[in-house]
């Protein structure tokens, strides 16, 4: 029984002391360039903290030793963008994360950077909300 309790405490410790990379609610801006406005859409994406280290031995360079908080699973959702005077409504598909993890950044599908424009960046002043 003592052994079981020790293992239980160890499991709880490992569960608590891990990376904290998880889904969070964000607002993304979808632009309608022809009509010069954006609509806001709620989505879930990944943010948090991942354990990283800086190698002391760098020659030759070792890739993929640092992890970032990124998606593990995602789905695509579609939103209808209203039209304007000379342009009909249209549809736009955007990715939504359903699971996150700490992993190396996949350059095949991800722009791996330090800072981007942010998910709610809109080139135009007008913003319409849509849930």
């Amino acid at each position: 029984m003592k052994t079981i309790n020790c293992y239980l405490l160890l499991i709880c410790w490992k569960a608590i002391c891990g990376n904290i990379c998880e889904l969070s609610n964000i607002t993304i801006a979808v632009e309608k360039e022809e009509c010069r406005f954006c609509i806001s859409v709620n989505a879930t994406w990944c943010s948090g903290y991942c354990f990283t280290r800086d190698p002391v031995y760098k020659y030759p360079p070792v890739s993929s030793v640092q992890q970032t908080c990124t998606f593990k699973e995602l789905v695509y959702e579609t939103v209808k963008i209203p039209g304007c005077a000379d342009h009909a409504e249209s549809f736009y598909s955007y990715p939504v994360a359903t699971e996150c993890h700490c992993e190396s950044c996949d350059t095949d599908n991800t722009d791996c950077t330090v800072r981007g424009l942010g998910p709610s960046y809109c080139s135009f002043n007008q913003n319409q909300s849509k849930e």
């Binding site: 993304i28 990283t52 981007g116």
Partner: protein, 122 residues
């Protein structure tokens, strides 16, 4: 009697866990960063350290996030990517260079911070 015996052990375990969680939550944010993910700081690199000649390495947790690439950004990309990752990694802010036997050159980190990642792409 057996149930009482095991019940007491379970109760002790639960009490210890509650106390531990209470202690964790009562620390200011800077102490544990966020529930057990250690902050970015110097730690000894046991592989390269020798007695009397420790080698230090920056390790710890830093913030990163991922989100759908804004449409404006996609237009500027040579190869458009649907997802953008903003990441920082625990890296050396200052270091000294050490040459070991066989002309192997390594770094001995002296200060750390969360900054640009260089070894995170796959």
């Amino acid at each position: 009697r057996i149930m009482d015996y095991y019940g007491k052990y379970a109760a002790v375990t639960l009490v210890m866990l509650s106390v531990f969680l209470h202690i964790l939550h009562s620390f200011p944010d800077g102490e544990f960063l966020t529930q057990g993910c250690p902050e970015c700081k110097l730690g000894e690199n046991r592989f390269f350290s020798k007695p009397g000649a420790p080698i230090y390495q920056c390790t710890g947790c830093c913030f990163s996030r991922a989100y759908p690439t804004p449409m404006r950004s996609k237009k500027t990309m040579l190869v458009p990517k649907n997802i953008t990752s903003e990441a920082t990694c625990c890296v050396a802010k200052a270091f000294t260079k050490i040459t070991l036997k066989d002309n192997v050159k390594i770094e001995n980190h002296t200060d750390c911070h969360c900054s640009t990642c260089y070894y995170h792409k796959s």
